[in-house]
Structures are given as C-alpha cells and as structure tokens.
C-alpha cells in the first residue's frame, strides 16, 4: 500500500503531463460549434423584414431541396466581404435564405443595394432569439440545411472564395 502511495504522485504527474502535451500538439478549436448540427431546424417563424420577400418558417425547409440559411446583419463588416461568394452560390443555383439579426428594413435595403442581393427570403430577428435557437454565436454564419429540414453543417465566419466548392459539394451530397 505504502509503496503504491509513494509512486502515486509521479504517476499522476505523468498523466497530467501527457494530457497537457497532447493539448499542446493539438491546439484547441476556439470556435463555438452549434449543438444543432445534425438535428432538425428548431421551430422558426420569423416575420418578413422586407415587404418584397417572405419571412422564414421551418416548414419551408422540408421541401426536398437543400438550402443555405445565412445569419447576417447589415451592420456586420465580414458580411460585406462574404457577399460576392453568396452571389456566386446563387448563380450556381443554390437557394439562400437569411436571418437578419437586430436590423432595420432601411439598413438591410441599403446593404443589399450596395452589395448585391442573394436572398430568396429574409426573416426578421430583432432580438437575436432565432440566432440563439440555431446555436449561432456570431455573424456571419451559414447553415446547410438538407431537403428534410435537417441542419447538416455550420460554416462559421465569412464564406471565402475557396470555401465555395466545398459548400456546393456538400449541398450536392445532401440531395
């Protein structure tokens, strides 16, 4: 018993050492992933932000075709950087819906006039509740939704040009 106790601290330290060493070689992923990935979309029923487009309802996503759900704000700078890629995805035949976080119709109208309009629908989320339900922790984020209304992937941050092919591939695979 005593012999075991004597060596216990060294063994304990070796365990901690191994743990810390493994933490060092595999740097932690600091992004906050949504727990909703792999699950059906939460129940959303967002009013249209603009008179010209419908709002967002969960039922619209279970119609057989995979779609993108983009979480954005007219006040968000990386959303501007991402706009050309969203337009490219739209040209490739992808349907993109959006949720505008804490925004106003005028500001979004101006944003779309300046940066192009890739969206089929825009839901209004004035308090950020829908964003939290999605498990999104910032803007922009883009969720890939399959034809049954299930979230299959989450893209955190702006979509770069090099991300576009992978997104198209995933949407294709979800068909």
């Amino acid at each position: 018993m005593r012999r075991v106790l004597i060596w216990a601290p060294l063994v304990l330290f070796a365990l901690v050492f191994g743990l810390v060493a493994s933490g060092l070689v595999t740097p932690a992923d600091r992004t906050v992933r949504s727990a909703m990935v792999g699950k059906p979309l939460p129940g959303l029923d967002l009013k249209p932000l603009l008179a010209s487009k419908p709002g967002i309802a969960t039922a619209d996503f279970a119609k057989g075709k995979p779609r993108l759900l983009n979480v954005f704000g007219s006040w968000c700078i990386p959303c501007i950087a991402e706009a050309p890629q969203l337009l490219a995805l739209k040209r490739a035949g992808v349907e993109i819906d959006a949720i505008a976080i804490r925004d106003t119709p005028e500001a979004v109208q101006a944003f779309l006039a300046r940066n192009g309009d890739p969206y089929a629908r825009i839901g209004d989320d004035p308090t950020g509740k829908a964003q939290i339900a999605l498990g999104s922790s910032g803007v922009p984020e883009t969720f890939l939704i399959d034809g049954q209304g299930r979230i299959i992937d989450q893209h955190i941050g702006d979509i770069r040009a090099e991300d576009v092919p992978a997104i198209l591939r995933k949407l294709e695979a979800a068909k």
Binding site: R2, R3, I6, W7, P9, L10, F13, A14, V16, F17, L19, V20, A21, S22, G23, L24, T26, P27, A28, D29, R30, V32, R33
Partner: protein
C-alpha cells in the same frame, strides 16, 4: 550596448549556475574536513554572484525601457516614448520575455539568499539544496536564451513603440506581477530544500526549520499578490466581480493553497518531528504548481482573459522543463522517501490532528481547482468542447472551504500531541454561540436564498472569536510574535470571508439606460446622471459621466466613471468609479450610448466588499509577524549554539 550587456550577463549567470551544480556535486561527494568547507565557501559565493548577474540583467532591461531604446524589439512592442515613467518601468515586466526574466531573477536571487543567510543546516544538505536551485536556474536561463530572449535588437529601429496594453497602465500593475513572482518563485527554495533533504536523506526538524522562513516569505508575497490582483481586476476590468475562476487566477491560487498547507505541515515537522514525507511532498507540489501555472499561462493551451503572446515552441520548451524538474523530484521522492523513517506520532485530537485536517481540506480544494482548471483539456482530448466556470468551483470548493474555516477555528485551541474532546468543546462554546447568533440574524434579514453565504458569514464570525482565544489569559507582552502572527492571519481569514459572504448575499445590481437628468436606484442609493462630458488624460481621451449619488438622509456625492480611448495601441477601456463607504462600495460603470441621448449605466451596491482585501492584507500581515518571530527566534538559537 546595454542590450548586449544584458544578454552577456544572462549567459554569464548560466555559466555560474552550471558551476553551482558542479560544486554542489563536489561538496556532496567530498568527505568532511578542510576541502569540503572550501568547496562550500566557493559554492556560496558562486550562488551569490549568479543572483547578482541575473539582477543585473533585469536592471539593464529596465534601463532599456526607461530610455525608450526603440532598437530593442521588446521595448518597441510594449512601450512608447510618450508613456508616463512608471509605466515605462512596469512595461519591462508587462510582457512574456520581461516577466520570464523577472521570474528567473527571483529564482537566482532566492538562491543567493539561501547561500547568504542559511547558517544552521547540515553542510551536505545545504550544498544539495543550492545545487538543485542552480539546476532549475539553468533550465530557465536556457528558456530565456533560446525561446524568449528579451534583448533582441531590430534594424532599422522604428520611430516609436507600440505602447503598453492600456489595461496594464495602472499603478496596480507596477506592483502586482513582481509580488506574485516573488511568491511563486520564492517557493522554488522550498522545492530545492526538499530535493536537497531527499538526496541527503536528511528529512527532519532542522530541515523544516531552515525551510520555514522561506515558505513564509514566499507565502506572504503570494498572499499580497493575489489580494492585489483581485482588487486590480475588480476596479480595472469594470465587471464588478473580484474573482472569476479564470485559469490564470487559478494558477496563482493553486500554489497559494499548497503553500498554505506546507506552512502548517512544516510547523508540525519543526515542532514535533511529524509528517515528514507529507511535508517533503508538499514542498515539491507547491513549486510544481507555480511552474505548471507559468506553463498554463504562457503556452496558451487554456483560454484566459490574461493574454500572453502564445507560441507553441515556448510551450514545448517549458513543458520539457516541467517534465524534467517535477518528474525528477517526484521520482526522487518515490526512490528515497521509503528510507525516511517515520516521524513522531500523535493522537487524533491534538494540534497535529487539526493541522492534518487543515492539510487534507486544503489539498481537496487544491484538487478541485486543479481538476476544474484542467478539465477543459481532458474534455478536448475526448473531443468535447466545454468551459468550466464559477458555478462548478463554487459548488465544489465552497463547502470544503467552510469546513476548513471550522477546522481553522479549532486548531489553535488544541494542545500538541494529545488533547481531550471535552476541553476543545468547552473552548469552542463562545465561537459556536457567536456563529449561531450571526447566522440566525442574517437568515432572518436575508432569507434562505443565499443560505450558504449566510452560513459562511456565521462561521467567519465564529472564527473571528476563536482566532483571538489563544491570547486569552496570556501575558500579551510576553506572547511570542509568531503567536500574534497566527492570530492576525486567522482573523484575516475571518474578515476576508465575511466580505465575500456579505458581497454574495447582500449585493444589489442595476443595469439601466438613462438620459441626462434621469435617475435610478441601487441598494440604498438614488443615482442621477448629471452630465456627460469629454475629458483628456496624458495618453488617452475619455467620455466621462458625472453621477450624483444620494442616500436617504446623507449628503450627496459625485462619481465619475469613464470610457477611455487610448491611441497607442488603439483600445477602449472602462474606468469604473468606486465610492467606498464604511458599510460597502458603490460601483458605477458607464457603457455605450444609444445615439438618442440615453447611456447605459451599470451599478452595484456591494455591502462590506472591502473586507475581502482588508482580510487579505491582514493575512499577509499575520504572515509577516510570524516570519519576524521565527527569524528572531532562529537568530537567538544560533547565538546560543555558538
């Protein structure tokens, strides 16, 4: 030239540290007699010179910062010629490389201190201790030279530096890291003593007496450093809290917990020759916690608000050093401790028994903090992402802490070796009564919601009474200073815990958006937003709110919270306005405006919150008294020996 001289001093110090290890090996090998005493003399001198060289290198780095020498990379990255002088100086350790140099300097100077002052320890044990201290120093000199050189030059030099992070431009910083490091690294001496004692199989009262003042000294600095750091976070971050269970805070708490346990077990070893193996273990653990803390902070493997420049090579380097020193010491412990004879035994109900209980409870808290801090890493290894915050630590550590408060009340009332339950219970009558009354009154006032905090308040009151009982029926003028130290430190714990409990049970918080002329209430105060105005400082400009606070029947007073904008580097900070009253603090933070004339205002009324830091200061003062008492006693004994 200065930078080159600094680097040269570091390399020379490395050479001397190497020499220190060789001489120690020689002293340990060599038999007694004239040769051994000459080697010992040389060893002492080498250790002292090594300390002076490190101190010199650190002094040269400060000189570079004071002169704003913009050809040195570290100065460029962390200073600016327009900065006030005090922050130029503080900039020298407000970064990774400079603070590591400070770390090593404390290490080397502590070693020099042992060489200079330690007179009574067996020669071979002292030699082994100095050798261990030198060996640790070599590793960290190498770390500085190869992975964190503070003296790197840049060619061509830029026109000016990038400035110091504004959060760090605060008098608190000029003083918080150096104190904390004196504590962290001061514990290296205890570690080296333990290694020396194990190597020479000399674990006994003499070793404990030699180690005790060093542990006490390091512990005092740690206590001051943690207390000051907590207050600094409280007023500088503007979050209204005083402890966030952040990994870096935990990294300072863990060595403190281990050192507190060590402080108590070392007195069992010194006085009664008991707890030999345990004391050696704690001495190793305490400094190991310091090193692990340093590693966790510098490697960036844990997410923390204390940002250091993160660099994987540095992480790997320090991890290697950790494996070498901690692993080595623990292996030595395993190999040698079996040969250390068991010390004196004692009854369960005795001073020793209470100290063992104190050690166990402190170890449990240490374990909780350690697991809570590292658990996110375990989870990450299993592919799960999570963070552990205050709810875990409070649930797991607070009940154990309260049991510890109760044990602290009992310990000093017990006799060494053997005592009676009945005598103890008799002495505890008054403290228990006071604790019960305070708890009942607080419960009647505040209700059941914060019952744990109210219990803490009652226990703290009981501890306050119990802690002065050792002075009862004693001739106060002839009471040893060390006893006074214990009384003051235990009283400090009671005071500090009262503050924590009062803050968590009775604080009120208010978040409001109001325009000029409107007012809100928080706790007993009504606060009016009188005016918003711009102000300028030496290297910042700010938007300042003028608040008028009124308490029923009291004279109104003003508060001026600010939102500061620093240009170099461009950053915003919140300067909270804090008004200290006899029964608490009013804490105000001004937030964003909404563009329509309303301003976000965050207010707290925190009853008796100042007791937290006052208690911390008392604990440190108690430690200081104990240290003075011990050193005087040792000196007297040394004179008697001679």
């Amino acid at each position: 030239m200065i930078a080159e001289a600094g680097l040269a001093a570091l390399w020379l110090a490395t050479g001397f540290a190497l020499m220190q290890v060789m001489l120690a090996l020689g002293a340990a090998r060599g038999a007694d007699g004239k040769g051994a005493s000459m080697v010992m003399k040389a060893l002492r001198r080498v250790a002292i010179v090594q300390g002076l060289l490190a101190l010199g290198a650190f002094g040269l780095l400060i000189t570079l910062f004071v002169q704003s020498d913009m050809s040195v990379l570290l100065v460029i990255e962390n200073s600016h010629s327009m900065k006030p002088l005090i922050y130029k100086i503080a900039g020298a350790w407000g970064n990774h490389e400079g603070s590591m140099l400070l770390w090593v300097t404390v290490l080397a100077v502590s070693g020099a201190g042992v060489a200079l002052f330690e007179k009574r320890l067996a020669t071979a044990t002292l030699a082994a201790t100095l050798g261990a201290q030198g060996a640790i120093a070599i590793g960290f000199y190498a770390f500085l030279a190869f992975a964190s050189n503070p003296f790197v030059r840049v060619n061509p030099p830029p026109l000016d530096g990038r400035g110091l992070n504004p959060l760090l431009q605060d008098p608190g910083l000029a003083f918080h890291p150096p104190t904390l490091y004196l504590g962290y690294v001061g514990l290296s001496v205890a570690f080296s003593f333990a290694v020396g004692a194990l190597l020479m199989r000399d674990v006994g009262p003499a070793f404990a007496r030699a180690m005790r003042p060093w542990v006490l000294g390091a512990w005092i600095f740690l206590t001051i450093g943690i207390t000051a750091g907590s207050y600094w976070a409280y007023y500088e971050l503007g979050w209204g809290g005083w402890w966030f269970w952040d990994p870096v805070e935990n990294a300072s708490l863990m060595p403190w917990l281990a050192a507190t346990a060590l402080l108590h077990s070392v007195s069992v070893l010194a006085t009664r020759d008991g707890l030999r193996a345990w004391t050696v273990m704690l001495a190793v653990v305490a400094f190991s916690m310091s090193m692990i803390g340093t590693f966790l902070v510098r490697s960036g493997i844990l997410v923390s608000v204390h940002a250091f420049a993160v660099d994987p090579t540095r992480g790997t380097f320090i991890l290697g050093l950790l494996g070498l020193y901690i692993g080595g010491a623990l292996a030595l412990f395993g190999a040698r401790i079996g040969t250390v004879k068991q010390g004196a035994t004692f009854e369960l109900v005795s001073r020793e028994g209470a100290l063992v209980l104190n050690n166990l409870l402190l170890s449990v808290i240490l374990g909780v903090v350690f697991i809570g801090t590292l658990y996110p890493l375990v989870a990450a290894a299993a592919g799960v992402q999570l963070s552990i915050g205050a709810p875990f630590f409070e649930k797991a550590a607070v009940p154990v802490g309260l049991a510890l408060v109760a044990a602290t009340a009992c310990g000093p009332l017990l006799k060494w070796r053997r005592d009676q339950w009945r005598t103890l219970l008799g002495k505890l009558l008054a403290p228990v009564a006071v604790a019960g009354v305070i708890f009942a009154v607080a419960f009647a006032l505040a209700g059941a919601e914060h019952w744990m905090a109210l219990l803490a308040l009652g226990l703290a009151a009981g501890l306050a009474v119990a802690s002065v009982l050792p002075l009862v029926r004693r001739n106060l003028r002839r009471t040893p200073i060390a006893i006074w130290g214990m009384v003051v430190a235990h009283l400090g714990i009671a005071v500090s815990i009262s503050g924590m409990a009062a803050d968590s049970a009775f604080k009120s918080e208010r978040l409001a958006a109001i325009s000029v002329g409107q007012s809100v209430t928080v706790g007993p105060y009504r606060i009016e937003l009188v005016e918003m105005r711009p102000v300028v400082g030496p290297n910042w400009s700010a938007l300042e709110a003028h608040l008028k606070a009124t308490r029923a029947g009291g004279t109104p007073f003003d508060l001026f919270p600010q939102q500061r904008f620093f240009a170099n580097p461009p950053t915003n900070t919140n300067e909270a306005a804090i008004a200290t009253k006899f029964d608490g603090q009013l804490y105000a933070v001004i937030g964003q405006g909404d563009g329509e004339g309303r301003w976000q205002l965050r207010l707290w009324w925190k009853p008796f919150v100042t007791l937290i830091w006052l208690g911390g200061a008392l604990i440190a003062l108690g430690g200081l008294l104990a240290l003075i008492g011990r050193v005087r006693r040792e000196r007297r004994d040394a004179e008697n020996d001679a």
